[in-house]
């Protein structure tokens, strides 16, 4: 099975180790993984800011980079949601292109969803020392129904214990450019999320979208918390041994 890794712009720039964790998880599960070198962004920042052309430009690029793969996997519910929910409606006047994009977006998966739903991974050789609380990021949860997948996988991580927040499904306030345009509301929402997470006394706040994680970590650190770890679910599932990164 040939899998194209869509690493996403945020992981590419901010946290390459999440990309390598994803790579390791896919390869350990027996996939032949390639990273198309010309990939950049899914187009969501522009698309959600009202620039439909951003979506169209990046959808064409995505098609060129990934159409040849059996599956495409991204360590993000948000970018996958963009591809699966919106790429198919960007070219109403070009049915052939629309059709190709629809076919490709059907083969595009969020990482934990892919591991559980497609690969049916039942054993992970990984360990984590400590307690975890899991933040359900909105696009993954509501556009892709990612809810049980990360939890099911974390159960297989030796030593990881899940302590749920009172509102794990409440938005953290990231919302892409919202987090800058309406920073004060975003900060308050991040604050609510941090308080809920801290109340679980978990050692790590874990989630499937780096945007949310940067938002949560940014608020935590500003509040003076230097100890609570904020990790992508791929990092937890792949374990601490990630090689040179």
């Amino acid at each position: 099975m040939r899998v194209g890794l869509f690493v996403t712009c945020l992981v590419d720039m901010m946290r390459p180790r999440i990309g390598f964790a994803t790579l390791k998880l896919l390869e350990n599960a027996g996939c032949e993984v390639a990273v198309p070198p010309n990939q950049t962004c899914c187009g969501q920042p522009g698309f959600n800011s009202g620039d439909r052309e951003s979506g169209r430009v990046m959808a064409r690029r995505f098609l060129a980079d990934f159409e040849s793969f059996d599956y495409v996997v991204a360590p993000s519910g948000s970018c996958t949601g963009m591809i699966r929910s919106h790429y198919g409606e960007l070219f109403p006047d070009d049915t052939a292109l629309q059709h190709r994009l629809n076919a490709l977006s059907q083969r595009t998966f969020e990482l934990t969803d892919f591991l559980v739903t497609v690969l049916k991974v039942e054993r992970l050789d990984s360990s984590f020392q400590g307690t975890i609380t899991y933040h359900d990021s909105c696009s993954g949860l509501r556009e892709l129904n990612v809810k049980h997948q990360p939890r099911q996988l974390m159960e297989q991580v030796t030593g990881a214990q899940l302590h749920e927040m009172s509102k794990p499904e409440l938005c953290c306030g990231f919302g892409g450019t919202f987090s800058i345009k309406l920073g004060e509301i975003a900060t308050r929402m991040a604050d609510n999320k941090c308080q809920d997470a801290l109340a679980t006394k978990a050692d790590a706040i874990v989630g499937g979208d780096l945007g949310c994680l940067l938002n949560i970590e940014g608020r935590l650190r500003r509040l003076g918390d230097d100890t609570t770890q904020v990790l992508h679910v791929a990092e937890v599932l792949a374990g601490p041994e990630l090689g040179q990164v």
């Binding site: 590419d12 720039m13 390459p16 950049t40 909105c138 919202f178 345009k181 309406l182 970590e217």
Partner: protein, 467 residues
């Protein structure tokens, strides 16, 4: 109602640091959310009913002209008088004409959000007529000289202590904080008004085309008195509220009350079909229905039409994490929350409410609870597209989006720029790997640190690893 949507950001700033509002919003917190979730378990085919309800609303809107004319015909046949108000000003003008031609000095009102759109109370007062709100929440706000902050729980931003103080000050009674006692006090104040008012004004949750009935769905009983005791009853409601048949209403009402307050059914569901007929024991002598357009018909036939499905349950705002933190007044007009972020720019003009469609993370919590399946995030995105296309957003925002699009579509340039960028930011992050301030990104760094990038891009490291 006075519009302040154009200053949304400063409204928000004030609300976020208002300790009383913050405390009251936290107290209110998830009460409606929990009640809704609990009561929906009674409905074993919720999704099927939602689909049916959305289809009913779509059918009503697709044939709005003929259903409205059918409604008018039936309403006239049952003795009601139907008035068409194209603008908000028309609403006030028509209402005052009815009042003055009948020598009305005092009006009792049950809840009508549509009357807030035209600032009816102020207009009526200016014409020398007294208007008294009788919905408990609206009554409280009339004493406080404040607009509603929620469409079904208008005084949700007020605490018990504030209400106690308002009552004592306005009624000249000893201060009390026992809720049933406060309700009794309001009732004692309002009863004489119900009996002496010559006109009652109500909203209308729905209009039934096949019978010419106005349906109101209420809890407090004031609606019954307002619509039956005074000589004249006037309904003020939007043209989009029409439903073809009573059967259609029976589907919708199952969702309305559950979505709104989490009740299986409200205390009162009234079908008002014309004035008192011969042999009737009660009811008004005159029944008037003012059908308000005021921007609604502009949405018909556009991608925004789905917003008109709205049955005003308030579930979208109850579940909205933005609303939960800033309250309803910050939105600056009649309708707050996600539906307000769509209706306000649509009715008062996008340039007057530019930040409202942006006031959402597009988290989708509203869409999954909307009983008539309005794609609220999608409609906000449509409004964002209009703002972008019309050049209404700040120039630096438009420029950065175009730049990002241009660079992201040139992989080599993108690689070069991101590789340089992450190196600089990583260095600036220092030992703690945190950026406390980023020029141009104050919106983020005013309240949060930015975790610094690792230092190299994934694609760079991946290429090296392969070679």
């Amino acid at each position: 109602m006075q519009l302040t949507s154009f200053s949304f950001k400063s409204n928000v700033r004030r609300k976020l640091i208002d300790p009383l509002l913050q405390r009251n919003m936290k107290r209110f917190g998830g009460r409606f959310v929990e009640a809704r979730a609990a009561v929906m378990t009674e409905v074993d085919n919720l999704e099927t009913i939602r689909v049916a309800a959305a289809a009913i609303r779509d059918r009503s809107l697709a044939n709005l002209d003929s259903y409205l004319l059918a409604f008018e015909e039936q309403a006239l046949a049952r003795g009601s008088r139907v008035h068409w108000a194209e603008t908000a000003q028309d609403v006030n003008r028509i209402l005052i004409e009815i009042a003055q031609s009948n020598g009305v000095k005092k009006i009792v009102k049950s809840k009508s959000m549509v009357s807030e759109e035209s600032g009816l109370n102020d207009a009526v007062e200016a014409a020398g007529i007294q208007a008294i709100e009788t919905d408990l929440g609206e009554y409280i706000l009339q004493l406080a000289h404040e607009p509603p902050s929620h469409i079904i729980a208008p005084a949700i931003h007020k605490s018990l202590e504030e209400v106690a103080a308002l009552f004592s000050e306005n009624h000249h009674t000893p201060r009390q904080t026992d809720i049933p006692a406060l309700c009794r006090e309001a009732r004692e104040q309002l009863r004489p008004h119900f009996l002496s008012a010559e006109m009652g004004i109500s909203g209308g949750n729905f209009l039934i085309a096949e019978t010419g009935s106005v349906v109101i769905v209420t809890n407090e009983g004031n609606g019954r008195m307002v619509t039956t005791l005074p000589r004249i009853h006037v309904t003020i409601t939007g043209i989009e509220k029409v439903l073809p048949t009573l059967n259609d209403f029976s589907v919708i009402v199952r969702l309305l009350t559950r979505s709104a307050t989490g009740q299986s059914i409200t205390n009162y569901v009234s079908m008002l079909t014309g004035p008192r007929q011969e042999g009737d024991l009660d009811g008004p002598e005159q029944s008037h229905i003012i059908l308000v357009d005021s921007g609604r018909s502009r949405l018909l036939g556009t991608e925004m039409q789905k917003a008109l499905r709205c049955i005003r349950c308030g579930a979208c705002m109850n579940h909205c994490p933005v609303y939960q933190n800033i309250g309803g007044h910050a939105y600056g007009w009649v309708y707050p929350g996600p539906i307000g972020a769509i209706l306000t720019p649509s009715y008062v003009g996008l340039k007057n409410a530019l930040d409202l469609p942006q006031a959402s993370t597009l988290c989708g919590a509203c869409q999954v609870v909307c009983p008539v399946k309005i794609p609220l995030p999608e409609l906000m995105r449509v409004l964002r597209e209009k703002s972008f296309e019309q050049g209404l957003r700040p120039w630096h925002e438009r420029l950065s989006i175009r730049l990002w699009r241009g660079v992201a579509n040139r992989p080599h340039l993108y690689a070069l720029m991101t590789q340089m960028g992450v190196r600089v930011l990583s260095l600036l992050g220092g030992k703690k790997k945190l950026l406390h301030h980023l020029p141009g990104l104050d919106g983020w760094t005013d309240g949060r640190d930015m975790p610094a990038p690792q230092g190299k891009t994934f694609r760079e490291l991946y290429r090296k690893r392969r070679s």
